[in-house]
Point group: C2
């Protein structure tokens, strides 16, 4: 079994690099039963998820990971990932805090994203 | 199949009510293969998880949920939950932001916590 911490790190590094440079390519990480909850909206399937990700209303975005945690999530080799970090958008100088959780599922020698939930975090 | 959103809401309401009033009772929600990652520490099994939760160095704690999202996480009826919220500890006037993700797994007509990852979120 792959080291789940290492898989989680490689996945998130790749995910945010692609997100920040070539968002449409992220669609390859999802399948037709994959789910994305982004703030108050829920999407299922590669088409709907791609539409949401590419339709986000900012041109430039940079994710900075602050924490990354992972746990095995199923006997089949799934991995649960929790990220917290900061998001810099367009010309905004002030970063926003966010959290995102993924469940990665092994298939064909790699992993796809079954679950993806994203939330901005506002100071209490 | 139970409504995963409703299960997630009932679970989190119960979880934080018990956490804030009678922390040791939370052990009933975990099993021997359950995992807890709390900040930088990882625990597995009811004994280790109970030890961590009851050993947290505060007497009074209040969780306030800001957002709650859920998705089905397995064909077996698992539910992935992502919470963001604020935490008030002891006499501190200033709340801390936190995020927590759970995977709930159905068993014996109810659900137990297979995965639990908790992180404080600091402003960017």
């Amino acid at each position: 079994m792959a080291d789940f911490q290492e898989v989680a790190k490689q996945f998130t590094d790749f995910y945010y690099k692609q997100f920040d440079s070539e968002r449409a390519s992220l669609v390859a990480l999802y399948r037709d039963h994959s789910m994305l909850t982004f703030e108050n909206e829920a999407f299922q399937g590669t088409g709907a998820i791609l539409g949401k990700l590419t339709g986000l209303p900012f041109a430039k975005v940079v994710h900075q990971i602050a924490t990354l945690d992972a746990q095995p999530s199923s006997e089949a080799g799934g991995i649960l990932v929790l990220v917290t970090g900061a998001l810099l958008v367009d010309e905004e100088a002030k970063p926003m805090s966010y959290t995102q959780t993924f469940q990665l599922v092994p298939a064909d020698g790699s992993y796809y994203v079954l679950n993806d939930i994203f939330r901005l975090v506002y100071a209490g």
